[in-house]
Amino acid sequence: MRNILIVARKEIQEGLRNRWVLATTLLLAGLALSLTFLGSAPTGTVGVRALDVVIVSLSSLTIFLVPLIALLISHDAIVGEMERGTMLLLLSYPVARWQVLLGKFVGHLSILAFATLLGYGAAAGALAVTGAEIDAQSWTAFGSMIGSSILLGAAFIAVGYLVSALVRERGTAGGIAIGIWLLFVLIYDMALLGLLVVDQGQTLSGGFLNALLLLNPADAYRLFNLTGSAGVSAFSGMAGVAQNATLNPSVLLAALAAWALVPLGLATLAFSRREL
């Protein structure tokens, strides 16, 4: 346990030093703040539901940005250190490989969590300061949005590690990471939509569609946040979906958690079998 924390501490230290933490926090805060204030301009004053509007726009932002940031910091974690030669020295120390990987995971996730919390928190804080009324239900929805955003980040960090543990060169890891991002964030939904249009509701059952949605962490995240709370689903135009949804929030959260844990386990396995 202590080894994991030592490695995590070093990752955070490095993240602070090479400005990763600063850059991600500023990026998320900047986008969140502009979405909060510019995004509500066309709809006018929405009154008590101001924070719900923010949740809708921020979770759409998260789906694009958080997986990208997560993959960027994680794809290099193993193969990069091996290529630079720092891994050889590290593993000659009294520390197990799974401890190294888990330590990195804790460190990278802390960086991402810090940036998300601070960046999105700034948006909510600004809203509260400007006098918008926010009820408890909205705060809960906002809190679970931040929590699930971090979980989504964890899933993509784990996927990035798996890539990093399997490939031989950094360039390959980078390429595959971009491919994974494109696949899960853009192509998957388009393909799913195309499939539904072609099928015209003839053969595909609701259960099959649910399974397909759970197979993509980004979709699980989207469903969790856009249908999770009554107020939010009203704004996201997903109210109809929310009523018919057979996937309840806990299933969606479990899918996200599985997306974090399974790749992390596989990455540990691949890393421990790898010869230096």
Partner: protein, 306 residues
């Protein structure tokens, strides 16, 4: 007697390549041993095996009584390793880097500053490692290997990239540790690099242990001839065998010099005759076989035996 490092019949294959073939040796306490061989001779592979970073295909290894691949970390805490081309994360400072490694070895944070001082990096402790020169990185590498008073030090080509003054102070530090009972294994691609610092030399070629012994023992086994150069006066050059007696190999270098390859047991005899009264010799030089010649000899005999 068992040493701190025991290697028995170790074979390591990477696919079809046999990096280490049936190597056995034992390293005792308080000794500096040099592992010498060309690039690709299996030196680094042997060190990785001792560290437990890779598993032997067959054979057994024990380091400080532990099997290094078994995941027992007790031995690793007492082990220092300096990899070839050591590198560190460029974003952290020298003292932050060393503090990280100290924590992993459960060494107190206060051990960092004296170590940096010992390798002469105090002035650069607060600078990022990315700004360090090659020699400074090498010194930081040595500092991390010295963390926690190691019982076994594995140094892979430690002096490449160090200037002569640094090399000197490097060997002083190694010698001090050895004096306190540590086993030091140095690898090098040339015997001359070691400048006779090692008590014992193990020569590797293509994964096979070719020679193992002290430099004097190796010299005896190799029976390399000593070169004797004589500066001859007057007409002495015309009839060398007359006054020198029968010698196997001799040749003229120029109008005044004769060079003789004297086998170890004939050396004294040749010298006696050359310095005999009446011998037309004005000056003489005795050149013992160099370490490079010794190294080349062992490589050649092994190649010939294949």
């Amino acid at each position: 007697m068992t040493g701190t490092v025991e290697i028995r019949d170790v074979v390591k294959r990477f696919g079809k390549v046999e990096a280490v073939r049936d190597v056995s040796f034992s390293l005792p306490e308080g000794e500096t041993v040099a592992l010498v061989g060309h690039n690709g001779a299996g030196k680094t592979t042997l060190m990785k095996l001792m560290l437990g970073l890779i598993k032997p295909t067959s054979g057994s290894i024990s380091v400080l009584g532990d099997d290094p691949v078994a995941g027992q970390f007790e031995a690793r805490r007492r082990l220092g390793y300096l990899p070839e081309n050591v590198s560190f994360n460029a974003a952290l400072t020298g003292s932050e880097t060393l503090a990280f490694y100290a924590r992993l070895k459960r060494e107190p944070a206060k051990s960092v500053a004296p170590l940096l001082d010992r390798v002469g990096l105090t002035h650069a402790a607060g600078r990022r490692v990315g700004t360090y020169s090659k020699g400074m990185r090498q010194r930081l590498g040595l500092a991390q290997a010295l963390l926690g008073e190691p019982r076994v030090l594995l140094l892979d080509e430690p002096t490449t990239g160090l200037d002569p003054a640094l090399r000197q102070s490097f060997y002083e530090i190694v010698e001090e540790l050895r004096g306190r009972g540590a086993t030091v294994l140095l690898s090098s691609h040339a015997l001359t690099e070691l400048e006779e610092r090692a008590g014992r030399v193990i020569i590797m070629n293509r994964g096979i242990k070719v020679a193992d012994g002290t430099l004097d023992e190796l010299r005896r086994i190799a029976r390399l001839p000593t070169r004797i150069r004589l500066k001859v006066t007057g007409t002495g050059l015309a009839n060398v065998p007359n006054w020198l007696g029968p010698v196997d190999g001799w040749r003229r270098i120029n109008g005044q010099m004769v060079e003789i390859d004297a086998a170890p047991d004939r050396k004294i005899e040749v010298l006696r005759r050359a310095t005999d009264e009446g011998a037309p010799v004005e000056d003489l030089d005795v050149i013992p076989p160099t370490l490079d010649e010794l190294y080349a000899h062992f490589l050649l005999t092994q190649e010939a035996a294949r």
